[in-house]
Symmetry: C2
Subunit: 195 residues, 2 copies
DNA sequence: CATATATATTCCACAAATGGAATATAAGAG
DNA sequence: CTCTTATATTCCATTTGTGGAATATATATG
């Protein structure tokens, strides 16, 4: 029930159609909360039902009519109350790190390749955040400060990944792990790794 | 379809019951991929169906019988293939950061309280990772290196959060934002904030 | 002139995850 | 001696998310 709040944040800036909200998710809000248009339209229907926004059909020729949603006082109140509630820090969720847990039983070269791939991805994402961040510099509004701060979390996150992957690659280099004990318990007889 | 792989990693260490796997998720694997026992039991059923593990019922008196799963060669092969596939970096997903996007429309004191709460939470988590990490020091096995590396991602992540929250609190202190322009578009007449 | 892209919404099948109830007993804590 | 914790599994209603089909047209690109 949290997509609701993300949509309300989008609507708090002004009246928007489902299409508009979906676009904003792609461009900014989606950095921290992704959703597909099908999900957004469905949720906006519910938001209307519960009176947090009102809908108005704006006729268009050629294209389907826009259904523009405007946040209500109840919607704004929901947003305020939400921001007073304790927000649970997100859990890390990354199967790649689970692979490290079972590192003896997976393909080390595959792992190394994934590390290299990730370095690129995270560098790209970092660059993207930096650009967005710079666009907000030298302004003096609370709104921009908020967006900057959010982007800074992203920048830190991506930077840490690049750095960690680089160091992991070094520590997992063939020379580095050559002399390690590699105890593989519970494997069939005769299949134990020789070092 | 990824819980499957996390469970296979758990099973790759040795035969386990659903209960064992659930416990391991709580203790270690769950740092990076959480799952409830109901989900784990269901998925292990599927793993058995697809021949990636075999199940054996171990009679017990008093308690329900243990159903112990042992990974098969097909299961090990699945694990190897999985580690060769490109793994998509996770997206950040945190509604708290969405609040920053709509910072003009939320309760700033609520936000500050959440920042303070997060500092504590992330410090605690960081400490937890550090302890687990230290238990693995001074060993020389690949398995332990893998777990160390995974924990280090956690440590970096938690540290960054503590640092960011602390700095965000400073930049959002009442004195700091006192002179800011606070443009609130689309609000009703007479409700615009005075600075 | 054809083709792709942007606009704009509805609907649906499916997969995955949440969050618990229900069942049954041993062992340890107070 | 009671209460909690640990052991061990099954089942299910509900929510959330994925991924795409279907519909209809204007405008920009090549």
């Amino acid at each position: 029930m949290s997509l609701k709040h993300a949509i309300l944040v989008a609507l708090s800036e002004g009246p928007k159609s489902g299409y508009d909200v979906a676009k904003q998710f792609d461009e900014s809000i989606g950095f921290f909360w992704r959703a597909r248009h099908s999900q957004i339209y469905r949720e906006m229907g519910k938001i209307k039902e519960s009176g947090l926004a009102v809908a108005e059909e704006v006729p268009q020729s050629g294209k389907p009519n826009r259904i523009v949603f405007t946040i209500t006082d109840a919607g704004r109140e929901t947003l305020l109350q939400w921001s007073r509630e304790p927000s649970e820090p997100p859990e890390m969720k990354d199967l790649f790190l689970v692979q490290f847990h079972g590192i003896e039983h997976i393909d080390l070269d595959g792992l190394r390749q994934n590390l290299m791939r990730r370095i690129e991805t995270h560098q790209d994402r970092h660059a993207e955040y930096v650009v967005k961040h710079q666009l907000l510099e030298d302004t003096n509004s609370l709104a921009d400060l908020g967006q900057q701060l959010a982007l800074e979390v992203g920048m830190r996150w991506e930077y840490q990944w690049v750095d960690w992957c680089t160091k992991a690659l070094e520590r997992l280099a063939p020379e580095a792990i050559a002399g390690m004990t590699n105890v593989v318990p519970f494997q069939k007889e005769g299949k134990k790794n020789a070092e």
